[in-house]
Symmetry: D3
Subunit: 257 residues, 6 copies
């Protein structure tokens, strides 16, 4: 049940999701009333596990809009991904970071599926040896794609992973951006040969670029992934095995609880 | 005079600057009335020079808040840096980008001077072979530092540039982040030995990380620097030679008109 | 005649089979009785899934000693790791390969635990981007160490993994060997400072060297890991949770069935 | 009992010893009679020259099968290559190593000549900066190929060496394996265009892989080549100049004595 | 006026230039009378600015032919490039260096323009991170080409610089030489496709090779560029703007005096 | 008139020719008498063996000073190293090249022995994969040092070669220059700790720099070493074995004829 909410669920639904509202960064006013129930469920209940080299602010010391987002994410997803806690050390950067994240990862248009986006993150983040991003976005890829092994394959070697040619072309381009290669018309022609137009190219490149930043922030802070991410999406739920009706692409698998 | 305002002037003054307002990304409503005079001064008057691989939107097709920012930047700085035009192709990303930029580059606290921030951008952007960022931020460094040669030295080889030990430690750390090295306590100790505390370390790293993203977006779009940037800040203005009173550190030099 | 078993015979020694025992890992229950039915259940019954670029011999075409080993490994371990099938394409090389493997990985003396050995394999195999070895030996590490996340951490970045200093020194040396660095006295001194003597150094280096070979054979054959390896050892068995008596270090965890 | 010889027995097969025959290379003449005097001339009679970082066992402390091999190799070849002494520190690994070596380097089938095999070893071992393997296998290449300069050329730069296209394709593939590149169909097509089928590809790759291991063991032990190897095969014997009948490809040239 | 002579002027005119005479290295006698006026204008008048890690000889301690050259260069060019001072520490090497420089950079035949030669120097020197050569030869390129931005573009990233295909092919080859790549027929074919014959290829390669040496000598000596080089050729002279008659390609622009 | 020999004259100085003496190396005996017959025996008499990608001029077409040098070198040394033939394609560059070579390699002062200089050439030329320079200067090192194996060791891996600490420090610095590293005070301190002063540092660096150029010219021309170089100095001459009087350090060993 909490399981059904899935962190990813939240991400998928920008219309009434919190992340979508995140993009109202700097918003002038808001009227949202936070129920006391939600308020009491704190994201800071975790043990003093090391998740960052920098201090994690107490909820009471954070701006209201950031707390509101965190509570909603945690409530719906079952746990709060550590990146929220770690980056809340710098509220103004937190807002810009998640606004950007939302603009790229929850974009509704273009040829990239949610699984595609996560695969780009995995392929580029392993290039940068970013523990947080590889582990957390591999989990998200397993959830979105229902493929429990492809992210691991891409982590080890995307060149030998079981990708279709379209995915391969997508990752080739993402890696060119990741390595800061000089991009030429040949790159775009290769993408077009696999059905990606110029706007899709921008999407791929912008995700690779954004995670070029994220990976480095994770190195700075020694950001550690939540334990949940390691096994999430690896084993099908019993319920899903019984009835494979799958109401939504992000609900059919779930971490065992 | 318009010259005196300088692009950088704008950046320096977040209190009533446009860039500061930029961080109101996603703002719910606004009441600003755009005068017709401002409207008529268009940033799109430049010839069809190649500045991006992607189309540059007509002003009339851009969201009001973006136009407002562009007009103000151009009016005050004398010209509109091409990054504004190029990224306006994606308004929501534009907003997040400049909100982030503002949070990092116009931050008022900490040990980093404006010249320091620009030097970090130059040193990391040359590592990524980013023409736009090296040329434009070398110009800004010359302006802020009043040192007409250091940015060029860092562009060629920061290890042999005439840096003081503090600047050298700052760039060593910025480059470690730029290369996506695993960051350890030893990095922080080295910084502390040169007067940078943990918050300064975050500032250095966040700038290096943000430009890891920016450099790659510039490669994607083949973003070209405005011609003005190449020579800006290289030769002292006559006026400045006569009276060296210098009302502000960012006004004393200017591109020749 | 028993003599005819040759190299292979050697592998099965230390009484009823070290390698076989190794492969019992992850198996939920077994009766120890090898029925003829089991014998008839052939390892070649798998669907024509792609596990190698080279043909997999039919059991009937393989030398007796190789078949004998395979049946025993499969019976005891629950599945036959694909490396056995793939390398059986060359029986004489198969025998030398597993004799070597056995001498290194099942060595009973020295400071290295079974988990240590697997961690060396993971750390060096990811350097070589070897899908088969990273995935299968990460599984073995999870089983032996009962640590469900460390192998994933090492896969992404052993420099930021939660290693103790002894493990870090061990992997630093393994990676020096893996990169074919020139080894100097300083390497041995560093190892000694963490409790590894010269014989342990040989063990570490020999494992790293052997997998330098294995990784490349996997690239040659496009060897694919059995699906079982991806999730093995990630989630504790119910039985283990109830009673943590642990009769053997390689039997206490198991893949969910 | 004969069974007791284990792996090692295997190596000596194809009747009186492939490895031993291999080591006859470079020997000017021999009578085939193993006098007791020769037997008494021990391989451990060499001065305490540094040939390994690890202790070299006394003959009396070595297993019988290993001594037997060493005596035969030394008797027939004129000297005992140091790799035998160095690896005898670990008898079980010694046996597996030479069983593997024998399976690859003395394989009687396929398109690779003995000189081809040695050239693969030289080209990959210089990539790994392995002194022992480059020097000793360059000597073997000179002997087998009767070409006194090609191995030196490959040592410096195989891309500019005087190779025919077939040899070039062979080394290109060997180096791809050596670098742990991801192997694709294109590699096999390139080989096929030069007359190498899939089994030849395996041979090339297995040799490159085996020496990926050997090179690293040589780094571990600081294994030093016998002085004889440096000049072996560089100058033709007088006898060979007079009558170029060449009874065998490995006997026609010899180090000057 | 002195300005009009420009250091580059000197270089351009080997017929009566000093550099051309330089190639008479080792000449047994000469009759040149040095006017007292020239003698009095000393190149050693600069402040004790750091320009080399090695001592700069006093003029009185230098061989006559070297002094003569320096005085002439300084008189005509307005300032003496520091490379003359720094290398005069070793007179015999000085003579060979400038004889070689003259043979390559002032060669009158072939397809390379003076601007082409300078561009090769810039592109290869930035690869070697040579401050002196990048800064000084970027200045010369601006002067010769009248293009105030191309050298800066090449410094950051020649792959994204606004080069025509001919220039791109020229720099591709220069960089292949610079990296010490093995040169093949394919390199020459690519050059021929852009109008460069084999002698032009030699010219390109010889310049790249000579600066491979120069760059390293600059690293040895920590050679610093004269301040004049940084801004030279960036801003058009007033006089040139008024009358664009341009009597010579190297006189139309000049450093401000 | 003799004066007309220019640069080249310089090379022949220190009385009857340092370079010529250098090339006497490896020659078994000579009478010192230059008969007209010898004069007529032209260096261009060699078969159309491939030694350069560029045409080798006929002697009759070469300037007198170049022919004079070649004849002397060939007469005294027994054969003419191919570099003389290959570079004579460009007489003015030929003169500067050998003037520079002479200034560096035949310098009479400082701490570097002739063998040291050759070792620097070998160590840096293998870094650049230059066949001509590695093979020819390995030969010269064997001659000068009377050590028949050290150059081969350095070719494979100078880090594991049997160097004394002084030689190791010398090559470490040479390689730093070779790689175009930024040189710092630490480099000089390391050298001083092994007895090299600043002038020795210049010597080491200048040789490494000069061969950075030479190696690249060899790549350009596909310059091939004379066959004599491969075996020169490997086997002691009979005469030398008998009487070890050694009149000169460059005459005591010789290629077998």
């Amino acid at each position: 049940m909490a399981c059904a909410a899935g962190v990813w669920k939240l991400i998928r639904q920008p219309t009434f999701g919190v992340l979508a509202r995140l993009s109202r960064v700097g918003k002038c006013q808001h009227t949202g009333v936070m129920t006391s129930a939600v308020t009491r469920k704190q994201f800071s209940s975790d043990p003093p596990e090391h998740i960052s080299r920098y201090p994690i602010p107490y909820k009471k010391d954070l701006p209201y809009d950031i707390v509101e987002l965190m509570v909603e994410v945690e409530t719906k997803g079952g746990f709060l991904p550590n990146v929220f806690k770690v980056l809340s050390h710098r509220p103004s950067e937190f807002r810009a970071f998640f606004a950007y994240y939302n603009a790229l990862m929850n974009k509704e248009t273009g040829a990239l599926t949610k699984a595609d986006r996560e695969l780009i993150v995995v392929a580029t983040s392993i290039h940068n040896h970013c523990l947080y991003c590889v582990v957390s976005h591999s989990a998200l890829h397993r959830i979105y794609s229902k493929n429990p092994t492809l992210a691991d394959q891409v982590t080890v070697n995307y060149e030998s992973a079981q990708l279709n040619p379209r995915e391969r072309a997508m990752l080739d381009f993402a890696l060119a951006i990741c390595r800061s290669d000089t991009i030429t018309d040949a790159h775009f022609q290769e993408l077009e040969a696999h059905g990606f137009d110029r706007e899709d190219a921008w999407d791929i490149a912008a995700i690779a670029s954004f995670f070029a930043m994220s990976n480095r922030l994770a190195h700075l802070t020694d950001m550690r992934p939540n334990t949940e991410f390691y096994s999430m999406g690896r084993v099908p739920r019993e319920k899903d095995k019984d009835k494979s009706k799958g109401e939504g692409d992000d609900k059919s698998q779930c971490k065992a609880d």
